[in-house]
């Protein structure tokens, strides 16, 4: 018979749509409208998991977000989801679910031996056993992870798409139960922009699983009408299947919407999930409450469930999770479940109530129905292994700390519906910065003072009668809208519920153990296998802070964040320490409320969309001509241009020699460019560069060094004076954005009196560097209105003219030591001018070169690259650049150059290095020492910052920062390499080629 536990009628399922699914490979049937948990229970599947530590058999406990046991792996391939709560997974045709724990199988789990070895696995067992000796941890960890079974991460890329939406609203309502719906009606009717989010597929919250009446009709009728009205309000957005999982600063909340998770994989109906980031004017938290378990012996056996979950399965899914039930409670609400069971035709063996006096209205109805109520009793043990087969109860003494009877009495049942009271869902309130306070009457934490514009209503505030929930919700919704400037508008009044007075509950955090330490385990946190004895042990071992106890026992550290166990655990700790709960503390809840897929958080920011990619205007030419690229920040820069079969070294050799002997060309468009303009522009440059700018004539260029206020080299570049009040500054490629921000900050915050305007023009100009002895001939062929004669257009000058028909700024500057010109044209003409240069240069066999050759050419000249040869701890003097420090003015960083540390004579200084074996190229970053055989720790002299093979010198060259290096030219130092080799190198001047600078001045 299929679905043996399905009731013949009732429920909100669609019996006309039967859905086939599988659990651990076994084919099963359910109905549309089922959760996976409901369908499993309908098929009388009790055993769904093995526990984390002891591998005890576990079954479904709850019916919602709090479920600690039924955490299943869904689907396969890249689509798979680990650790999904079966209670929140909507059933779909073809769903494949498997248990994540249990080896080799769920039914026969070899690791269950842990259960017999429980004495060897006490609280803190990780710390006590496996962390010592530490070198074995790597070996233990693998075994422990497999034993712990946390689900499988897919090996394939995620094939699904995820979206993000950013929205503002006036009122965000978290939770669509009675209080949330009432709040949405009040706020929505006023015209405010409202978002109502609920984690379930249907709105209605707890009403969907209850038999409550409103205005004499089923409450679900009112839910239907309320949802219909809300859908008709244009400013109300309804988000079902959407969990408000995070509450952040300034009323930013995040919602995970499961858009298509309830559909079989492969049905293309939009993104799988959507992350909503909502900036809400006001927040109404109507997140409900979570029913607490009771802590008694073997309370983890499959078939021990929350009483409210039992009612939900009966009423909403028409599933009877057992044939004969015992109800175990410390409050009145579980009596509803007894009545629900009875009316569904399930035998109720007894209600066991720890309270001595039980005289409320609901218990009276239960007694009237002929059910035995054992008041002043507690369940002390559950019989059965993979399913409940019975229970034992004992009479409590008057204070509930011990027993008045000597032996337990047996009770035949296969289902235990337990209720230890209710914990309001204070998670979002806590995340918002609120500190929940302990309410003695409810024996629960309730929201405390608000830190942000939020209010909790209904069960989330500790209100457990339906009329009260509706009223609170409605008033809070209206108040929130009013605070946002929307006046209440009339509408249907809230309906009335039948008020049933509830007698006070009696806290019972832990049922006394009837056999002392030999008694069965009493679980507090099912997901992490934390027992009451573990918490008591932690207290005995000296742990006092609840935060320490949590870490020691793993209480609340599962993916459920202790939704069921935390309050019981804290109360047990308080009892053990002999103090009250408020002084024992609360726990701080952090996002997410329930786990969120990484894909949902990432959205579309994957692959090519992970980070912007910047390409120069000439990029496609480089691609077409076979360039290899390197990433420089977000830029793609040509690295080298290999010809047929060439290696990097071979291509660089050819490119460097071309630039030195004939002519090369490089795309220098990525250099940062800043347009500096205004009557105080010269004064501004004086302040931000170390050298003077007042005397620089129009049409001339100058190299500048920029320091941080700490005196360390920050950036460098060439700046040209276009007019009296107009400069064109270049920066390093990587430093462009930082320099722009730095300059803007000084102008705005310290020197607002300076009349200077900065504009970033990096992307507006393409720069073509034509480099080498024949560069003049190439330029002359392309440009008729500039005189390129040496005396007419000297080194460090700039001219405006027309290059290849395009208005251009031509700078005669050099980063290679050769005669060279940098042609700047509007970016749209970049490729045109580049191609014109290639055509005009063909006669000279012009050779394009990339960043690698650029690095070699500049290193041969001892030119630094900021960020490679410097690291934020290098002064101009360290680089041998004191010549660029003006004496007669102040500039940023100048005072710091006079600090005692800056004037030390033994600072690391820039030098050249020549390996004694000329063919050997030192690795960059290699450490340098005087004596490789010195006792450890070997004193370090410094390190290699740049290192290459120099084609024109026919040997290796390197730049290095070495302590007191300028005084040590000629000394030999040692570079001990990671492979054990020790390389000798001689310290020399950092300028290896053309030290007189004759070649750029021709």
């Amino acid at each position: 018979m299929t679905q043996p536990r399905r009731l013949p009628q009732g429920g909100r399922i669609d019996r006309s749509r039967e859905l086939a699914f599988s659990f651990n490979g076994r084919p099963l049937q359910g109905y549309a409208g089922d959760t996976l948990a409901a369908a499993l229970l309908a098929n009388d599947v009790r055993l769904v998991a093995r526990s984390f530590k002891y591998h005890r058999p576990r079954g479904i406990v709850g019916a919602g977000a709090e479920e600690p046991n039924a955490l299943l792996q869904l689907g396969g391939g890249g689509h798979t989801l680990p650790h999904q709560r079966a209670t929140q997974v909507e059933l779909y045709a073809g769903l494949e679910a498997v248990s994540v724990n249990g080896w080799p199988s769920l039914e026969f789990d070899l690791m269950a031996i842990n259960s017999r070895l429980a004495g060897l696995l006490p609280a803190g067992f990780y710390y006590k056993t496996f962390m010592w000796p530490q070198r074995f941890w790597g070996r233990y960890e693998h075994q422990i992870r497999r034993a712990a079974g946390l689900g499988r991460a897919p090996m394939e890329a995620d094939p699904d798409r995820y979206d993000k939406t950013h929205v503002h609203c006036d009122v965000l309502i978290a939770g669509g139960g009675p209080a949330g719906l009432a709040a949405a009606l009040a706020a929505g009717r006023s015209g405010a922009r409202v978002i109502l989010a609920d984690e379930q597929a249907e709105f209605g919250g707890g009403l969907l699983g209850s038999r409550e009446q409103l205005d004499g009709r089923p409450a679900t009728d009112w839910v239907k009408a309320a949802v219909a009205e809300l859908r008709g309000l244009p400013e109300v957005r309804m988000l079902p299947r959407s969990t408000v999982f995070g509450y952040y600063d300034h009323n930013l909340l995040t919602i995970a919407e499961r858009v298509t998770d309830h559909l079989p994989p492969g049905i293309s109906a939009g993104p799988r999930q959507r992350l909503w980031r909502v900036r809400a004017g006001r927040v109404v938290i109507a997140a409900g409450a979570i029913e607490r378990p009771l802590v008694f012996g073997n309370n983890d056996r499959p078939g021990v469930m929350q009483a409210s979950a039992v009612s939900t399965y009966l009423n909403r899914y028409a599933v009877a999770p057992g044939r004969a039930a015992a109800v175990f409670t410390n409050n009145d609400s579980a009596y509803r479940s007894a009545l629900d069971l009875l009316d569904a035709g399930v035998e109720v063996a007894a209600v066991v109530d720890v309270r001595l006096r039980v005289d409320g209205e609901l218990p009276a109805r239960v007694r009237a129905a002929g059910i035995a109520v054992h008041s002043g009793y507690a369940l002390v043990d559950v019989q059965g292994g993979k399913r409940v087969e019975g229970a034992r109860l004992m009479a409590l003494d008057s204070d509930g700390r011990g027993f008045s009877s000597a032996y337990p009495v047996g009770l035949r049942c296969d289902l235990i519906a337990m209720s230890g009271g209710w914990s309001p869902a204070v998670h979002l309130h806590s995340q918002s910065g609120g500190k929940p306070r302990f309410d003695e009457t409810l024996a629960a934490f309730v929201p405390g003072t608000s830190c942000q514009a939020e209010v909790s209503v209904g069960a989330a505030r500790g209100c457990f009668d339906l009329s009260g929930c509706l009223q609170e919700g409605f008033e809070a919704g209206a108040a929130a809208a009013r605070a946002q400037g929307f006046e209440a508008r009339p509408g249907a009044p809230m309906p009335a519920a039948v008020i049933i007075a509830q007698a006070p509950m009696m806290p019972m955090w832990r049922v006394p153990s009837w056999r002392g330490v030999k008694g069965p385990k009493q679980f507090v946190d099912f997901q992490n296998d934390t027992s009451a004895a573990d918490i008591a042990l932690a207290a005995r071992e000296g742990y006092r802070s609840v935060e320490h106890v949590k870490r020691y026992t793993a209480l609340g550290f599962g993916t459920d964040q202790g939704k069921l166990g935390n309050i019981n655990g804290m109360a047990i700790l308080a009892e053990t320490l002999g103090q009250d709960i408020p002084s024992t503390g609360t726990t701080t809840f952090r996002p997410p409320y329930t786990p969120v897929s990484i894909g949902t958080l990432v959205g579309r920011t994957v692959g090519d969309l992970f980070d912007p990619l910047r390409k120069t205007a000439i990029h496609e030419w480089h691609v077409e001509h076979g360039a290899e690229f390197e990433n420089v920040g977000q830029w793609k820069r040509p690295w080298y241009y290999p010809r047929q079969g060439e290696s990097l070294d071979q291509a660089v050799y050819r490119e460097c020699l071309a630039a030195r002997r004939t002519v090369g060309v490089m795309d220098a468009s990525t250099l940062g460019k800043i347009d500096v303009r205004g009557p105080d522009a010269a004064e501004f440059l004086n302040r931000v560069y170390t050298n003077g700018w007042t005397k620089l004539g129009v049409g001339r260029c100058r190299y500048g060094l920029m320091l941080g206020e700490d005196g360390m080299v920050m950036d460098d570049g060439v700046t040209a004076r276009l007019a009296d009040d107009h400069y064109y500054m270049t920066t390093t490629t990587g430093g462009a954005a930082h320099v722009m921000g730095w300059l803007e900050r000084w102008l705005q915050t310290e020197w607002p009196d300076l009349k200077v305007y900065l504009t970033s023009v990096t992307d507006q100009w393409a720069t073509v560097a034509v480099v080498g002895p024949q560069s003049r001939g190439v330029l002359a062929a392309l440009c008729q209105d500039i005189d390129f004669a040496a005396e007419a257009f000297p080194f460090m000058a700039f001219r405006e003219g027309t290059v290849a028909g395009v208005a251009a700024r031509v700078f005669r500057i050099s980063f290679s030591g050769e005669l060279s010109y940098e042609i700047n044209v509007p970016a749209d003409y970049g490729r045109h001018v580049w191609e014109a240069v290639m055509a005009a240069g063909a006669a000279f066999d012009i050779t394009p070169y990339g960043t690698e050759s650029m690095h070699v050419l500049r290193a041969e000249k001892g030119f630094i690259i900021v960020g490679q040869d410097t690291d934020g701890s290098v002064t101009p003097d360290d680089l041998g650049m004191s010549w660029i420090l003006a004496k007669n003015k102040d500039y940023l960083g100048r005072r710091s150059l006079l600090r005692p540390d800056s004037v030390r004579t033994d600072r690391k200084q820039m030098v050249g290095l020549k390996t004694l074996q000329p063919g050997f190229v030192l690795p960059e970053g290699a450490q340098l020492v005087d004596d490789p055989d010195a006792a450890k720790p070997v004193p370090m002299l410094g390190h290699v910052t740049s290192s290459y093979h120099s084609p024109c010198l026919g040997r290796s060259i390197a730049l290095a920062l070495i302590r007191n290096g300028r005084q040590r030219h000629g000394d030999v130092v040692y570079a001990p390499l990671s492979d054990g080799r020790i390389v000798r190198a001689e310290i020399c001047d950092p300028v290896f080629y053309d030290p007189e600078g004759a070649r750029q001045n021709v």
Partner: protein, 96 residues
């Protein structure tokens, strides 16, 4: 994520802004007359209060203007936003 009320653009998400640290740090007007200790204090030493903190922010992905914010470092509530050179609560202000 904070929501910061840019004096020029209005309220925007924190991701549009960059943080500049403590506000109202005065650069010594005559660095040469400043002792090493006073210069180091200007360079490196910052307050780290529990509570009200005046700090600079820049609307980097918006108008690119720097401005001052008074923020409570415990609650993250922003108590005031004022322009460079403007007067903050309690008389805090930038050097003239």
């Amino acid at each position: 994520m904070l929501q910061i009320d840019c004096p020029w653009c209005g309220p925007r998400d924190e991701t549009e802004f960059s943080y500049g640290g403590e506000a109202h740090i005065v650069r010594p007007s005559d660095p040469d007359a400043t002792s090493d200790e006073a210069w180091a204090d200007y360079l490196f030493m910052r307050t780290n209060p529990r509570g009200r903190h005046a700090e600079q922010w820049c609307h980097a992905h918006g108008c690119r203007r720097w401005f001052n914010v008074v923020r409570d470092t415990v609650s993250y509530r922003i108590e005031a936003v004022y322009r460079i050179g403007g007067q903050g609560p309690g008389g805090s202000h930038d050097p003239a």
